[in-house]
Amino acid sequence: MEKKTITIYINDKPYRVEPEQTVMQAADKLGFHIPRLCYHPKLSIEGACRVCIVQVEGLKNYAASCSYPVSDGMKIHTNTQEIRRARRDIVELILDNHPLDCHTCDRDGNCELQRLAYSMGIKKRHFEGEKKSYDKDLSSPSVVRDPDKCILCGRCVRICSEIQKVNALRQAYRGFKTVVMPAYNMPFSESVCTTCGQCINVCPTASFIEKNYTQELFEKLSDKSLIKVAQVAPSVRAAIGEAFGIPPGTAKEKETAAALKRLGFDYVFDTQFSADLTIMEEASEFLDRLQGKGRLPMITSCSSAWMKCMEQFYPDLIENISTCKSPMSMMGAVLKTHFPEKIKAAPEKIFSVAVMCCTAKKYEAQRPELKINGLNGVDLVVTTREAAWMIKSAGIDFLNIKGEEFDHPLGLSSGAGAIFGTTGGVMEAAIRTAYELYTGETLLDIEVNELRGLKGIKEGKIVMDGKEIRVAVAHGLGNACDLLDIARKEPGKYHFIEVMGCPGGCVGGGGQPYADANSIPLDEECLKLRAKALYDLDRNRTIRRSHENPDVQRLYKEFLGRPLSELSHKILHTHYKKKEPKGIIPRGLVRAR
């Protein structure tokens, strides 16, 4: 059946477009890129910035193209002198209430506001006056809030309430003093914020930035008395190339290892190794629970933002969480116990650094429950962005460097460990091992396709020796909460649930490189390409199952004994407890729009 089309005129030329869409959507498809700021295809339409205004014949005011629907015969003008001047004035008004410190700002060179101001051609300033002045919020270990730079696009508010459903941020006050903040302007660390860092991803300016530890790290790297150890997350290698101009989709595994070694790390290990370790522990734990030794459904616990979310909003389901630590923290635990033994060094001399795609890991690293014998498992966490900056700052030519292998004994990983970075990957890895541990046979259909892809909630079934195991996967805290609401109502529906706090999984984490000038934050294509890079790594590995990793087997033989042994429990497992920060609203009271 032929789709109905209507005719609209853009700048006096007719075009046939589909009805039931906005002017901006129609224009985008026709090759017009109307300037915009607060609009994002994944978020609700805000209509706040007024940068996307166009002239529509017959209307006495300008229309915001992001929200105005097309109609048959509509005549739109996107580039008259009048509308150009109006747009220019609006962007100038934004600049007039924004600090003038581009050269010392974290987003210098990659700032949406900078790009917009440049394209508007603002040369002279007409309306300068008072600027708003607020204190920076440095309380959170993960995310720094700088309200002075906020341009009130509302993207952070929308992603936190619509996609993550945490509702940590909202506009407050009125008039000139309006600014985005947590409730009652309380310090970020005391609020319900889960430190997932998605606000950083969508913020067009430097109003949200990760807590930067690069200076401290450079100092530690020049301290000869320490043994500097790094671990690299799977998603970091999938995306770090983008920070150097390489299009998304290429995994720069060996180059990252080489660059980190040149920065001054004594050992560069792979979090994918400890991902395999996590699977050993977690699959065994799951099988135990299947036999009645614990609550079902079991919920994965690698995502630290998700853990804080559960402690705050689903404390009644804390018993369902797997007691396994995340791969990063398991690596940290091994680094402060077995590893110093092996190299005959004092544990206090080990300085353990994690290069992560995630801002919540900064929060996780300082959780008191994760200490080993009084020492932090991970001493410092840097994001992909920070690592990329350090590599550039130290003068390392990432594009042309010769790749190197990760170090022994904690650097070898299976393909299952690699796919940890994408949504559905943890579950797939767990199934590969759990199946064999339970049935004694190898799972031949090694790629569990129904768990791959960007659908918010995915379901899968696997039959182990006649027993049907139902699993579910969610990515993004909002989808996770929806999934848990279902699990709460129907406890028998699922056996095993995987949750990743960020949309797309860890590849979309709060610490990943910013989108460049030709893309948008959280672009689905980009997330898919990063995921594909990891799936390709998996395919190209000879060892694709966690339990077949010989170094993991050796770790058990030499140190841990077997999965869920007493020693494993002591250093590789943890507990969670209910948290009640200010601003918790009972979930039933928040009525969705």
Binding site: C49, N61, I90, L93, D96
Partner: protein
């Protein structure tokens, strides 16, 4: 000279309304005066020319009080008979009596002889001032809730909407959207739940029309909402009223309870199968929550910020359901349209703006208060006839209509008829009905600044032009009033004003620059004087005034002692002098001088 009158025992009222088709009131008045003279009754009563009494098809109308006997189709031949039979013998002339039980007429039975109400027509405020607002019996006795009974007995929802559409009623909240059309859009949506909302968040500073309507006659709003609910298919009504109106809230709560107890709210109203109930929600001091989408978000529990429209509330409103939202005044007009018919309502007002409008007349007029006039009445009539003209003998300068969203109209617009289109053409808006009269002692720049300060404080902060643009305009205006105006400031104000008007998301932003832009158009000289010559001709901008000691000075030295800048010099008992260069213009010398020796220029 005041005559020592004997007791007044009659008042004759002649209808002098603008729509009266037989307008011979002035000739009839003369005839009556002649007759009274003949019978020696001239000193025993008054003849009054009143505003439109709404009985236009039966004119000329003559009313004799006491007893409020209404005579219709009166000719000059009937006058001697009326005077002889009714006034002298006390026997009314039955063949001329018409039996008009119009709702709005009852007000004039009590207040018909008061000059202030001469040109007014009280439809919205028909019961305010003549009933006890806390008594449902009072309301019922004046045909209250009969409109509901009528529609539940004889009219289908579509017929009710047709009637409202035909009446030409337009939204009284300020936008003037045809009410019947809005009802039709909402009714046409298919949904399991629909809402009816009354916007009683009267945020304009100085406006009190809605407050008086609810405090004086809450049941008429309830009745209007029930009719609206029936017409569009809703069972739930909400009144969103600002918390700063505690008395109105208590009266409304009592009225809702009484209506429920009497069977006008709740399940199966008056034995029909229509159910409707009303809830009250309080505002919390945000002017922006008077905007319909912001109001809806506020009721939902979110921050009161508007959102882009379309979709309109009639399609996607409260909790995503079709919602009909109207202003208090609009609701108060609905029962009258149902009972007195849309055809009658159409006779009041102008071609495009039907009915009456309530204005809160304030400012420098002699008679301030609530004025309800048919659309089409001119500004001059309201300010000078009803308002009594400018007080203290000063000169009229401008009238500000529409609150902080409206413009200032100078003398040349005094003959503009009040209706939506004419006021917009003149450069202002009808708004919700604020009308402030300004005399020669007020500075137009300062007035623009006052209103802009209000809108900037109340801006919700969502969209850039309103949040940032009004702040920058305010900074420029403040500089101008402090004597720091620069060349190019006026052009900047116009540039920003036009941008904010056309690019803002909601009505608050779109109308915020109106006071500034209209004063720039109509009173440009004052701005130029402030900027170029650093002078304020009205004497209001303190920092632009020169304080000068005149020859009334006796040298008491009080000003010299109080001056904080040491700008006054002079010896005792000799005239003192103010040094302009040291003067900080605090005004203390002016305040303290007992001899009127300090001039402000």
């Amino acid at each position: 000279m005041k005559k020592n009158k004997s007791k007044e025992n009659f008042i004759i009222t002649l209808c002098d309304g603008p729509s009266c088709i037989h307008n011979k009131s002035k000739e009839l008045k003369r005839d009556i005066e002649i007759q009274l003279e003949k019978k020696g009754l001239s000193d025993n009563g008054r003849i009054i020319l009143s505003g439109c009494l709404g009985m236009c098809s039966k004119g000329p109308i003559l009313i004799v009080n006491p007893g409020y006997t209404i005579y219709g189709h009166v000719t000059e031949k009937d006058i001697p008979e009326i005077v002889e039979s009714h006034l002298v013998k006390g026997k009314p002339v039955s063949r001329l009596i018409i039996d008009e039980d119009h709702l709005y007429n009852r007000f004039f039975r009590v207040f018909g002889d008061v000059g202030f109400f001469g040109k007014q027509m009280r439809i919205t405020l028909r019961n305010c001032g003549i009933i006890d607002p806390e008594s449902i019996d009072d309301y019922i006795s004046l045909r209250g809730y009969e409109a509901i009974a009528k529609i539940l007995s004889d009219m289908k929802p579509e017929e009710v909407i047709e009637e409202v559409k035909r009446s030409g009623l337009r939204g009284r909240g300020g936008a003037g959207f045809p009410t019947g059309m809005k009802w039709e859009f909402t009714a046409n949506q298919k949904s399991d739940e629909k809402y009816v909302i009354c916007n009683a968040d009267e945020g304009d500073p100085g406006a009190f029309m809605d407050r008086s309507a609810i405090e004086g006659d809450p049941h008429t709003v309830i009745e209007g909402m029930i009719i609206g609910g029936y017409a569009v298919g809703s069972a739930k009504g909400i009144v969103y009223i600002r918390a700063e109106y505690p008395l109105a809230i208590t009266r409304l709560e009592k009225a809702i309870k009484d209506a429920r107890d009497s069977g006008f709210l709740g399940e199966n109203i008056l034995g029909s199968d229509f159910s409707f109930d009303i809830e009250i929600r309080l505002g919390a001091g945000a002017f922006v929550c008077g905007e319909e989408t912001a109001l809806i978000h506020s009721i939902e529990g979110s921050r009161g910020m508007p959102r882009p429209r379309p979709p309109y509330p009639s399609v996607n409103g409260l909790f995503g359901k079709p919602t009909l939202i109207n202003n208090v005044e609009t609701w108060a007009n609905v029962p009258v349209i149902i009972l007195d018919s849309a055809d009658w309502f159409r006779k009041v007002g102008t071609e495009k703006s039907k009915g009456t409008k309530v204005f809160a007349l304030a400012g420098k007029v002699k008679n301030t208060g609530l004025v309800e006039v048919p659309m089409g009445t001119t500004l001059r009539e309201i300010i000078f006839d009803i308002g009594g003209g400018i007080e203290k003998g000063k000169k009229f300068k401008a009238v500000q209509t529409g609150g902080p969203s409206g413009g200032c109209l100078p003398e040349k617009y005094l003959d503009t008829p009040i209706d939506y289109e004419s006021l917009a053409k003149a450069g202002s808006i009808m708004g919700s009905g604020g009308m402030i009269v300004i005399d020669e002692d007020s500075c137009m720049v300062n007035i623009a600044k006052f209103f802009l300060e209000f809108t900037q404080n109340e801006s919700c902060g969502k969209c850039t032009p309103c949040r940032e643009g009004t702040k920058r305009m305010l900074e420029i205006l403040t500089r101008i009033t402090e004597g720091k105006g620069e060349q190019g400031d006026i052009e900047k104000l116009e540039r920003l004003g036009n941008l904010i008007k056309k690019a803002s998301l909601c009505g608050l932003g779109q109308s915020a620059p109106n006071p500034v832009l209209s004063t720039l158009t109509n009173f440009r000289e004052e701005y130029e004087e402030h900027i170029k010559h650093k002078k304020c001709r009205a004497g209001e901008c303190r920092l632009l005034l020169d304080y000068v000691i005149n020859d009334k000075c006796v040298g008491c030295g009080a000003c010299k002692r109080i001056c904080p800048a040491g700008a006054v010099s002079g010896n005792p008992k000799t005239p003192h002098v103010i040094d302009k260069s040291k003067c900080i213009k605090c005004g203390q010398c002016y305040e303290i001088c007992k001899f009127g020796a300090v001039d402000k220029k």
